[in-house]
């Protein structure tokens, strides 16, 4: 697999770098060389201790040119309709097998750019040179592989003082008669006091194993605001590895929701780098695991400047056979005085075959800070269950009510009623809850 991926790069380097400067080409080369030197992470790596990539890497994936369109594959609106938040007036950027699908998309260049990376290589080489792979140099082999092979994904560049008027729906589909591995690369550059909101979903339409390896780079200038909802509700043969790195200047704000309710293997790395004073980050996560699912969250908040706030709340409900990992690292540099960092990770383990490995990791080198964290792994509260049942609520509904209530605060801050309703519907479906039950 390593050799085939390496070949995929060297065979297609010319296409990949056709419009790029030498500097950008060299970044790709270096990334490929790093990947070749290190290979895929194994469970001997501390960061991968609980998560084996073996099931992700074992299928024989079709590895075509990362840039060329696949002529035999086609998507219609009817294929994707159910994966959209239809009621939401949004920009839409749709990809199939890692390539842009223009007839299903609604992009813009008016006042700001909401378009595709594949078009940006040619159109905006300077912006690319300035931002592409500048946050990802030190990341692990999966991110390096992505840097080398990156071709498409969303390209969002917002000038100073501009608020993007509609949210952006990013939909990435995989399909085809053979196992497919794709790279998705998203670049988000927000000017001073600008704002944008992204709703991201990856979906396999195939009955074959799929693997999406995705990297996001987001740059937030002073006062910029980014809201990102990552919905991971893929099918049972779909795997997802993702590294998101957000760098924030003074007084900027980010909010990332990671809702992991489907898929076979999910590994999320979410890094927030708080570079300017007064920056704020909110990271929320909800994981519902069942069957052979594995969901691994690695988060990092890098407090590099004073007076920053990070607030992290990850919830997990793990049912029969599923496995979860939460590794939450908070690093507070010596300069980052008056840091306010909060981390909460709460897990419900519903079945004896389910497993959660939770590890908060706080490294604090400043002396005037407020840092707190809490981590719990438990079962549904029997006293609460009895209380509900004693009021006449049947056991399955009582359990569901408690699970929904447990999950609820991980959805805080999602303000679109239609998106909220959609998420609740997915969550209720996953928990096997009657939808007429409201909280």
């Amino acid at each position: 697999m390593n050799d085939r991926l390496s070949a995929q790069y060297w065979l297609h380097e010319k296409e990949l770098t056709a419009y790029s400067s030498d500097a950008v080409r060299d970044r790709r080369r270096r990334a490929m060389e790093l990947f070749e030197a290190k290979g895929f992470p194994s469970q001997r790596d501390e960061d991968w201790k609980y998560s084996s990539l073996k099931p992700v890497l074992s299928p024989h994936y079709a590895l075509n040119s990362p840039c060329a369109a696949l002529e035999d594959e086609h998507l219609e609106y009817a294929d994707i309709k159910r994966f959209l938040v239809n009621e939401l007036d949004a920009y839409r950027v749709v990809f199939l097998n890692g390539r842009y699908t223009s007839w299903l998309s609604d992009t813009t260049h008016q006042g700001f750019d909401v378009c595709t990376l594949s078009s940006a290589w040619k159109k905006y080489p300077e912006t690319i040179e300035r931002y592409f792979a500048q946050l990802t140099e030190d990341l692990g082999p999966l991110a390096q592989l992505n840097t080398a092979l990156a071709w498409d994904g969303i390209y969002v560049v917002v000038p100073d003082n501009v608020v993007v008027d509609r949210p952006i729906q990013l939909l990435s589909f995989t399909s085809g008669a053979e196992p497919r591995a794709i790279q998705v690369r998203n670049l988000v550059v927000l000017g001073v006091n600008s704002q944008v909101e992204i709703i991201e979903r990856h979906q396999s339409l195939s009955d074959q194993p799929t693997w999406t390896n995705s990297v996001d780079e987001a740059y937030l200038a002073e006062g910029a605001q980014l809201r990102w909802v990552k919905l991971q509700h893929d099918g049972p043969l779909a795997s997802m590895t993702q590294h998101t790195r957000i760098q924030q200047d003074r007084s900027s704000r980010s909010q990332v929701h990671t809702i992991s309710t489907g898929g076979r293997f999910i590994r999320n790395n979410l890094d927030i780098v708080l570079n300017g004073p007064g920056a704020e980050a909110r990271m929320l996560g909800l994981t519902l695991g069942k069957g052979k699912q594995l969901v691994d969250h690695h988060t990092l908040v890098d407090h590099r400047a004073p007076n920053c706030i990070s607030h992290e709340n990850y919830k997990g409900i793990y049912d029969e056979g599923s496995k979860g990992v939460f590794n939450g690292r908070i690093y507070v540099h010596r300069e980052a005085q008056k840091t306010d960092a909060y981390q909460q990770n709460a897990n419900l383990v519903l079945h004896q075959t389910a497993e959660v490995n939770a590890k908060p990791q706080l490294e604090i080198f400043a002396d005037d800070v407020r840092c707190s964290h809490g981590c719990t792994v438990g079962q549904l509260d029997e006293d609460a269950l009895f209380y509900l049942r004693a009021r006449g609520i049947r056991e399955p509904e009582a359990r569901a009510m408690l699970m929904l209530a447990f999950a609820e605060d991980a959805l805080a801050g999602i303000d679109h009623p239609s998106l909220n309703a959609k998420l609740h519907k997915l969550i209720a479906g996953k928990l096997g809850v009657d939808l007429t039950l409201d909280l």
Binding site: G392, R394, L404, A405, L439
Partner: protein
């Protein structure tokens, strides 16, 4: 309507109820008094169907039929209500939605239709009024951050909404100041009728100044050792439990 016959119950190896007999008829108010550890809360839990307790012998009959095999929710559907000594805090579930879900679950189990929104609201307003509670209460998370008095009022509010045939109030008076006590009693008295029965479990006689019982039982070491009228409650208040202990011995 409720008949408890020679009820023995234990938790783990420890026998707590050692032959309780109690009969409650429609419209009656019974008080069960007793010192700490006498089995009062165990009795209410066993009647309501809490699974940690094993009933080793005896029976609990509802309209002549045993309810020991029924799930807690099925007992609630019959019209049994337990007012908890320690109501559980459930963040994320609002009072109004909880009560709505509970009432409609009970109605569904009885083959009745769900209450429409306006009737539900009207009913909630009436219950709130009875308990001198503010409307803002409905949107708060169930018992989360409630004061002791608010928790107990919330129990009576739920009781008023569910209109049980038999309500067991487990030390509803504990931790209440005199005003809260009056309001809780007012709530209970407002629901008294020829059909509704109450079992009031308490340490102290003072609640019984407001809710006048028809029968007072003294529970000691898992047995009802003395039965009387409300004057028995006064005697206990004045003289404590020691004289009964001696009498029993």
């Amino acid at each position: 309507m409720l008949e408890i016959r020679e009820l023995h119950a234990s938790i783990g190896d420890k026998e707590i109820l050692r032959g309780v007999n109690l009969t409650v008829k429609p419209g009656e108010v019974h008080a069960i008094m007793g010192p700490n550890g006498s089995g009062k809360s165990t009795l209410s839990s066993v009647i309501a169907g809490r699974e940690e307790y094993q009933v080793t012998s005896g029976d609990v009959l509802w309209d002549g039929k045993s309810i020991l095999e029924l799930a807690p929710e099925e007992r609630a559907h019959l019209g049994l209500f337990l007012g908890f000594q320690y109501p559980v805090e459930i963040p994320g579930v609002s009072v109004s939605n909880f009560v709505k879900t509970a009432l409609n679950a009970v109605r569904a189990a009885r083959g009745e239709e769900a209450l429409d929104a306006s009737s539900m609201l009207k009913k909630m307003r009436e219950a709130l009024q009875l308990l001198e509670m503010d409307k803002g209460f409905l949107s708060r998370s169930l018992n989360e951050g409630f004061s002791g008095g608010e928790k107990k009022r919330n129990e009576i509010f739920q009781m008023a909404m569910l209109e049980p045939r038999l309500a067991i109030l487990d030390e509803t008076d504990s931790g209440l100041d005199i005003d809260a006590l009056r309001i809780v009693a007012q709530g209970v008295n407002g629901l008294r009728s020829a059909k509704a029965s109450f079992v009031v479990i308490t340490h102290y006689q003072r609640l019984l100044d407001y809710i006048i019982p028809d029968v007072v039982h003294v529970l000691l070491n898992g047995r009802i050792v003395k039965v009387g009228d409300k004057s028995l409650a006064y005697a206990l208040e004045e003289r404590g439990y020691d004289w009964i202990k001696k009498e029993v011995e």
